[in-house]
Amino acid sequence: MMNAIKNYIKSLFLLELLRGLRLTLSRLFRRPFTIQYPDERAPQSGRFRGLHALRRYPNGEERCIACKLCEAVCPALAITIESEPREDGSRRTTKYEIDLLIVETRIFEYHFEERGKHVMTKEMLLEVGDKYEAELAADRATESAYR
């Protein structure tokens, strides 16, 4: 009974609406959170997963040995790998393609203008890796304590 009366009064005087407006009003006079992307950037964690990359060892050798576990584990079946022995007998991919649905480096800004371009080939992935290797290695080093 008491509750019903309380609710009636609340809705009659629009108390909840006023409470909400109070929050709005208080924000109006504070500094806004919005950052002016792309002119401004939010800080990024070293663990951020952006654009994919294939990395190399310091001696230039590709790290991917075509174990195909990523292909098997990818829930979106976005990865296609084909492999064969390279001339030196080592196990390497001949084709490594990712249909870009998810991202792995800290690059998160990219776009495609044509259908089909969203499939990254092995060469493209290695190129990305080569380009950002310094950052990737540094990130991994700082995060290594938590692995």
């Binding site: 040995i65 075509a66 174990c67 098997a72 084909e82 492999s83 064969e84 022995p85 196990r91």
Partner: protein
Amino acid sequence: MSDSSTPEMVTIEVDGQELQGPAGAMLIELTDKACIDIPRFCYHDKLTIAANCRMCLVEVEKVPKPLPACATPIMEGMKVFTKSDKARMAQKGTMEFLLVNHPLDCPICDQGGECELQDLALGYGRDISRFSENKRVVADKDIGPLVATDMTRCIHCTRCVRFSEEIAGIRELGATGRGENTEIGIYIEGSMQSELSGNIIDLCPVGALTSKPFRFTARAWELVQQPSIAPHDSVGSNILVHARGSQIMRVVPDRNESINEVWISDRDRFSYEGIGSDDRLTTPRIKTNGVWHDVEWQVALQAVADGLRTTSADQLAAITSPTSTLEELYLAQKLMRALGSSNIDHRLRLGDVRDQDSAPAFPGLGCSIADLESLDAALVIGSNIRKDQPILAHRLRKASNAGAELHFINPVDFDFVFSVANRLIIGPAGMVGATAAVAAALLEANGKSVPADIRNLCTASEVDQGAKAIAGSLQQAPRSMVFLGAIAESHPDYSVLRSLACTIASECGGQCGYLPQSANSVGACLAGAQPHRGVGASTVSDSGRGLAALVEGGMSGCVLLGVEPEADCDDPAHVIAALEDCGFVVSMHAFTTETLEQVADVMLPIAAFGETSGTFVNAEGTWQSFSGVVPPRGDARPAWKVLRVLGNVLDVEGFEYESSEQVRDELHRACEGVGTDTSQHGNCYTTALDVGLMRVADVPIYSTDALVRRSPALQKTGDAASFLARISHAQAAQLGLSDGESVSVVQGDARQVCTVVTDTRVPESTVWLSCGTAKAAMLGASIGPVSLEKGSGEGML
């Protein structure tokens, strides 16, 4: 072991469950049967027990230490615990030791995902290694183009060693060193000799031995597995085809105790590589003015129909491959006979048709494949059985190990992996004499008079002693058989050999059997793909002409079904010449070859192995159907469908099949009651062979059919065909030739330059010059008179 008393049954208790087994059986046999899981690496039910991996340790009541289940015979009242703390601790301890030296390279190991060590390490391994010393590294061995090695991964279970000794019958692999320094290696560097070598890939529980052609190309979890039947020898080994997407990635054996047990030959395992060969035909093609054009199916089929319709029936022929499926062969002959022609043949390597009308319904083994094991004596005439039908040779090896006496009459002293009691190695003409001598000796031993026909054939007196020994052995053996092999089949006196073999068989109370060459040699006879017999090997009123007669001329329209004339026929040169004279030739084949491009007018691409459903009938007469695993490449279509549509286009009745099963069932009904007696013969005792220097040829194991000829890995092995004229030392001396010299080989009108090799396996008056090479194809029939002329070509020798 002819111990007839059944062994005493013993009752034991395993994990509280009561199990019964024959006394002397090993514990693991019982638990396996009862589906109680005991981890193991070295135990394999087809190999002897080594008990060296110690993974199968279990606790046995009242025994202070854990015992290996694979080497512990069961005893009455034994109480076994496979999952007790003690057993688990022992198993985990073993696993830790095994992993001490095993590399952590699962991501690059082809066995990853199907590795026994990986699987068991999940259950019995520790998460973190306590071993911080250096791991052992072992250099890889080169054991040939089929098996890749990563010997660091070896856990020394010795399955591969035991396989090569016990199953393959050649001691090729062995363990050297002791303890940590043990290494598995090949005794003689180079490639493995065994034609069953691929089986060590399946046996090796880890990734130490893996398939070289398959290397790094796919993961076990990506593959879709489908059962199929091997398309090569007449064994019909049960196989599992592993495909990824629309590509066949590898072939592994399936278990079928009555046929191939758990083994397959390397030919069955690696021939899939040929499917994607560069010369694969993927679109229908028509030749106009000597130029080939790709066309639509409709256009091509219409062209074929027009071509066949305008050919007069008696000039029309079909030459079919005995590796085609039953359905294809049946439809091909049905079409031909509907068009009024009985000129259809599949016997591409047959040397003699004289007694074809009295030949058995189909050239079957005469017993079941498993029965070969229990033979007490056998005479094999004209066969390199080890390379022709490796799985049958394995059965004979088992028989021989159990004490059977095996005898051979061969034109070349082939290397076998079993002991041969008597071998009569004599040239092609002498083979008839030697077989006649055995028959005569048997007749005499049985107190019968030797017919003059047979007596007259006994020309080779040097074999008399051996013949008597063989006759004696066959006569005494409770179970004996006589087999005619591939070389006998292409022998110009095949009819004579058949009559003699059947005489021998009946005199020794055995059977005469055949060792058919191709996957469907038997099926082709049942399907009616012969000129003189119809469906179900029934006699026909309008007998047609077989290949031998067709080659003589009078062929103006021809359908080739899966045939490469230059490589599949006994006398390629003559077949090619006949096809060149033939006005209209259609080639239905999965591949194209230069010769086919030259002789054919229309090419219809058909499905290769693994791409079509069908049925093969194996040597013992078992019908085995299989379905397609992957879709045919490009525009290729299963041949049975092509023939069915061709029937429709030609307005032939009874071509309304919806599935290959329908075709098969129709044929199956027609084959009910077909006689299985393989001991029929035509009493043919007149030899067609002269004496003198004779060529004799075998079809090397990797030249037998279109698929194997295109398998790169198999062609890299030592068994690949080579063009060499092998003669005995005495013959070389007599002809004034030396090893490595170039000579001209002259056979009929043909002449080829060839290298001479002296070989102790070759008898007098014989030149062993295998088929399977382009040059050999141009020489002529596989058995026939030949002469060798010194390099420059002057002066007959």
